[in-house]
Amino acid sequence: MKKLINAPEAVLADALNGVAAAHPELKVDHVNRIIYRGTPTRKGKVALISGGGSGHEPLHGGFVGLGMLDAACAGEVFTSPTPDQMQEATKVADSGAGVLHIVKNYTGDVMNFEMAAEMAEAETGVKVASVVTNDDVAVEDSTWTAGRRGVGVTVLLEKIVGAAAEEGRDLAAVTDLATRVNAAGRSMGMALTSCTVPSAGKPTFEIPDDMMEIGVGIHGEPGRHRVPLAGAASIAQQLVEPILADLDFTKGPVIAMLNGMGGTPLIELYLMYGEVAKLLEKAGVKIARNLVGNYITSLDMAGCSVTLLKADDEFLKLWDAPVNTAGLRWGI
């Protein structure tokens, strides 16, 4: 395993030291492993908290700041944080207007956030609402299973809902918006290589040079299908088609994200975005805004994902609102 780390057990603590050193505008609670904005939540503003396993950077810590999250809880690599972390973040970030938990749909994340919400409400009376993102079309949606994974839409949701909270919308309105954003988005990912979890010390899966995984999530899990390696145009098609088959994106403007998995350089991400944009144009999908880059990653995995979000005027206005975080910044 070749990584810029000191020791597998120390990855998270050491990385949080780096975040604290790099971002004096943020507050890092090293004991509870929480990243907060440097200034307390404005009175009356709903607080947005997210969190999850580490290894997906800039998600979520990189999205803490004006216009997005109030706090992010960092779990061990690929392991949901624990309820006490979330409860602490909830208590600290609440300004009295309540807290929205933004949870990606994984069994661990959902259970830990549920426990945190129970604990926070019971102990401190903070009003807690949750939204669970589940946008990954690689996974069949069913009430008999764990359901779809929460992936790329989480990034777009944190931006859009963050802007609405900044506007002063109340907890019910913010929660409703979050639910609508989640419902309007779909994602699909692929991997050329596995990632390596530091504590595991070797790649999560082996894959030959002439194969790739289609339908991966963001935890180095194998995908739904292993298929022959193909060119960028074909890969784009294998990602875009299932998304368009799942939801109609032709009726209005769309926000598109071409996301890298962490080990893929920007030149390839732009190249892929060119292919995706071509396919979407052909399919009658109009891209109003886009993001190309590493936003929700899977350690050092090489690969990418496509996320589309139906964006009406409300979503677009909130998207364009100022944001000032380590991972997304504009208008300020």
């Binding site: 944080p81 624990t82 069994t107 661990g108």
Partner: protein, 214 residues
């Protein structure tokens, strides 16, 4: 029904043996989780059980409820992921059910573990055949009860539970997962042991060891 009791020391030994087993088999558990999950089950369980032993090693639990509530809370606050809340809830419920006893007889231990299983189901909504830790835990408890009902002592009952947990674990191999991370793989999840069911088999191996005669 039952012969003999599990003392506080034996119950502590259960936890200690469980820690040793997950530590020994950390790489194996992570390897199983690599195939159909995210390659962290071994380090999750090791981190959690080390935290548990550090906590209770400090000593001081005067009663079963105190011990297991502390174990449960430690797992909940140190593990994360799916296994943290699930194993955490399992032990929390044991603590809540067992009461302030300093030893548990077979009936009491069975009732406590059943409550633990119910907690796991309440949190995780798993059913038989979903390819989760439930598939090792439920048969283990059934075998434990059946053995006690047949007049066996705690040593025999816990050994029967272990055997059933192993069978339950092995039976997860052909299953297509419907819960947890492995469910994302669809049919590709078949042909692999479930990591959580495997650590649960270790849980009952540890119990059988702790309650073995002599």
């Amino acid at each position: 029904m039952t012969a003999g009791t599990a003392s506080l020391d034996q119950l502590t030994d259960w936890l200690s043996r469980f820690r040793d087993l997950v530590t020994e088999q950390q790489s194996y558990l992570t390897e199983l989780d690599s195939a159909i999950g995210d390659a962290d089950h071994g380090s999750n369980m090791t981190r959690g059980m080390n935290a548990v032993m550090e906590k209770i090693g400090a000593g001081g639990a005067g009663a079963v409820d105190e011990l297991f509530k502390s174990v449960g809370m430690t797992l909940v606050t140190s593990v994360g992921g799916a296994s943290g809340p699930l194993y955490g809830t399992f032990f929390l419920r044991i603590g809540m059910t067992a009461g302030a006893a300093t030893a548990l007889d077979g009936t009491a231990l069975s009732a406590a573990m059943r409550a633990g299983l119910e907690g796991v189901v309440a949190r995780g909504k798993a059913e038989a055949g979903d390819k989760t830790m439930f598939d090792a835990m439920a048969p283990a408890l059934d075998a434990f009860d059946a053995s006690l009902a047949a007049g066996d002592d705690l040593a025999a009952a816990s050994s029967a539970a272990f055997t059933a947990a192993v069978a339950g674990r092995d039976a997860t191999e052909p299953l297509t997962a419907r819960k947890g991370r492995a469910s994302y793989l669809g049919e590709r999840s078949a042909g692999h042991l479930d990591p959580g069911a495997t650590s649960t088999a270790l849980l009952f191996e540890a119990l059988a060891g702790a309650l073995a005669k002599g």
